[in-house]
């Protein structure tokens, strides 16, 4: 069953001197449990495509159906709530909240969802354990390595029980050992939890792990296998 259905998606930036077609007619379907890498050269439109899928940007044309719901029809407030309940984000620079500890960062998203304190604490502890951060619960991001921060970021993305996780170049700032660890962890989560991961990446190691690779160039899908 496809959890994301994208039909003839266009995004044209008109606030530049010359209009830029960042996404130019992409149609794509992503099934539940996929481990997909969106690849392409710099400026190919993969980040814009990811932003559109994540409801952070609005398409000029086309539809994005997530769980059957066209997110184009949502206003900005509804989009924020939609992201909170349906989409997990992992950012290139981890982007944890620096003043919260690892467990607070993971629990934060559940607090936004209104999950009771006891339950969110329990879930956050389990997720940190799953991501190999047992014992680091009370460390703040500044006290963790890059790899550990990205693990917290993954745990935070999982905490909202999303339909899928969007990861924008998650390994770009990591050393090879941390990259390997992170990919193994995400691959494991994909298998055991059937969690759908969609990456945008340049990283060959991510591509090697991915079970589907969608290549984008000039805002169009040039290959999908």
């Amino acid at each position: 069953m496809s959890i994301i259905q994208i039909n003839n998606l266009h995004k044209t930036y008109t606030d530049t001197k010359v209009p830029v077609k960042a996404v130019n007619g992409i149609s794509l379907s992503i099934e539940e449990g996929e481990f997909t890498a969106i690849v392409g050269p710099s400026g190919s439109g993969k980040t814009t495509f990811l932003n559109l899928m994540g409801g952070l940007d609005t398409p000029t044309e086309g539809d994005i159906l997530i769980g059957g719901k066209n997110i184009k029809d949502l206003n900005s407030r509804q989009l924020i709530d939609f992201r909170l309940h349906h989409i997990g984000f992992v950012f290139q620079s981890y982007n944890l909240i620096p003043v919260l500890t690892a467990i607070e960062n993971v629990a934060f998203i559940m607090e936004l969802q209104g999950i009771p304190k006891k339950e969110r604490h329990q879930i956050a502890m389990e997720l940190l354990k799953k991501t190999g951060l047992e014992g680091k619960e009370n460390y703040r991001p500044g006290e963790l390595s890059g790899g550990q921060q990205q693990r917290v970021s993954v745990a935070r993305a999982l905490a909202s029980k999303p339909k899928f996780i969007l990861a924008d170049e998650p390994t770009a700032n990591l050393d090879s050992a941390s990259t390997e660890d992170l990919l193994n962890m995400m691959s494991e989560l994909n298998k055991t939890e059937n969690m759908t991961f969609i990456f945008s990446t340049h990283d060959k190691r991510v591509m090697d792990k991915a079970r589907r690779i969608v290549t984008i160039d000039d805002g169009k899908v040039v290959s999908d296998f």
Binding site: R77, F91, I97, V99, L100
Partner: protein
């Protein structure tokens, strides 16, 4: 909500030095403002207390006397009326007066003075004239004698035991002429009083002004319990009828109140300047805290935090900075103000003369009225809330994508 509270608090300590500097500016402003207002209100309270002590909370006169202070607007004592006023709840006591302007002569010198006839014992209990006598003695009921201000004595070159001739208009066209011994020379805090006032026994003055019928008065000062003044004013007005006017101390001391208002206004202008500086201090911190977390805001909105919650966090931050400053400012200032309230600073030299010109003891008094602490703290908190307007507009107009691309 708790997590927003925690985040706001911890955000402040992300840059400790900046928070300390901002909070210190709030503390300094609050300390300055509290000292300034406490001193101002302290001196106002003292001035008003001294003024009311002298004239009473209100005075009953013949209608029109206040606007045209002539002896022809005097009235004869009315025991029924006095009984009616003194029986009203809240009235502490009443002091009858007879006042008139006369010429006072001694040797080859003459001076215009104000003769004030008082009931010596009752007056002394309230105004404490006897405590201001520097030589001689105070008045005795029913005995002829004068207590004169020291400047009058100096001008006329008159001493205790010498006789002063007084001459002026009596009641209903009569002429009032008398000669009385000086029993006491007094020094009042007001130079104007030292130059003008001659106290004498009420009955003796009544005989001088109108010997044909006893009991002539120009006014009755009424002293009442605090807080009942406005209520009593209207009750007494109703009780005395149209033949009498009841004048509040606010009218009698309107010049003093005017100067207080003016001084208060200048204080407020000073405070406004001070608070504008503080407001910019808080605002610059809030501005930096907002702009430097642009990316963090973007991430938080991306993962599903509503903008309203971000706004609340920013408001908490502004309030926390102000609260730290306010609490520290109050802790520092309150004991100091309490000390000065209990031990006012005695002024000397020109400052003392300035106080005396307002008929006031040369003491720099401090007020510890809760309203001062409350209002100044509230102003600082309001400034913090005002500074929080920036992050509110910033977040509401925030473009997530632009910030993420940063």
């Amino acid at each position: 909500m708790k997590i927003l509270f925690i985040m706001a608090w911890r955000n402040l300590w992300q840059n400790k030095r900046r928070t300390y500097i901002t909070a210190t500016s709030v503390v300094l402003a609050l300390v300055l403002a509290l000292f300034m207002r406490s001193m101002q209100f302290g001196s106002y309270e003292t001035m008003i207390r001294a003024g009311v002590n002298e004239v009473g909370n209100m005075q009953v006169h013949d209608t029109g006397y206040w606007d045209n202070k002539t002896i022809d607007r005097a009235f004869f004592t009315n025991p029924a009326l006095e009984q009616k006023i003194s029986s009203l709840p809240g009235v502490i006591h009443m002091l009858p007066h007879l006042e008139t302007f006369v010429l006072a002569s001694y040797g080859d010198k003459t001076k215009g003075v104000q003769l004030v006839g008082v009931n010596p014992e009752a007056e002394d209990l309230q105004v404490k004239i006897s405590g201001k006598i520097t030589s001689g003695s105070y008045l005795i009921k029913g005995q002829a004698g004068l207590v004169i201000g020291d400047k009058i004595a100096e001008y006329l070159n008159i001493n205790i035991g010498d006789s002063l001739v007084v001459m002026g208009q009596g009641y209903e066209g009569t002429t009032a002429v008398g000669i009385y011994p000086v029993t006491g020379i007094a020094h009042y805090v007001s130079p104007q009083m030292n130059n003008l006032i001659v106290y004498m026994d009420l009955e003796t003055l009544q005989k001088l002004i109108f010997p044909f019928r006893p009991g002539l008065l120009t006014g009755i000062s009424v002293y009442c319990e605090p807080g009942l003044e406005d209520q009593l004013l209207s009750t007494i007005k109703t009780s005395v009828g149209d033949h009498f006017e009841v004048i509040s101390w606010k009218v009698m001391l309107s010049d003093m109140l005017q100067s207080i208002k003016l001084d208060n206004l200048s204080g407020m202008v000073m405070l406004m300047i001070l608070y504008i500086i503080v407001a910019f201090g808080i605002f610059s911190t809030v501005l930096m805290m907002t702009v430097e977390r642009r990316r963090q805001f973007a991430v938080m909105i991306s993962i599903g935090m509503r903008k309203g919650k971000l706004v609340i966090t920013s408001i908490f931050e502004s309030i926390f900075i102000a609260l730290i400053g306010v609490v520290a400012g109050l802790i520092l200032t309150t004991p100091a103000l309490m000390y000065f309230y209990l031990n006012p600073i005695r002024m000397t030299g020109e400052m003392a003369a300035m106080y005396e010109s307002f008929n006031q003891e040369p003491l720099m008094a401090f007020s510890i009225a809760p309203s001062i602490f409350f209002s100044q703290s509230l102003i600082v908190l309001s400034l913090a809330l005002l500074s929080a307007l920036y992050p509110i507009f910033y977040v509401l107009r925030f473009n997530v994508l632009n910030a993420l691309r940063q």
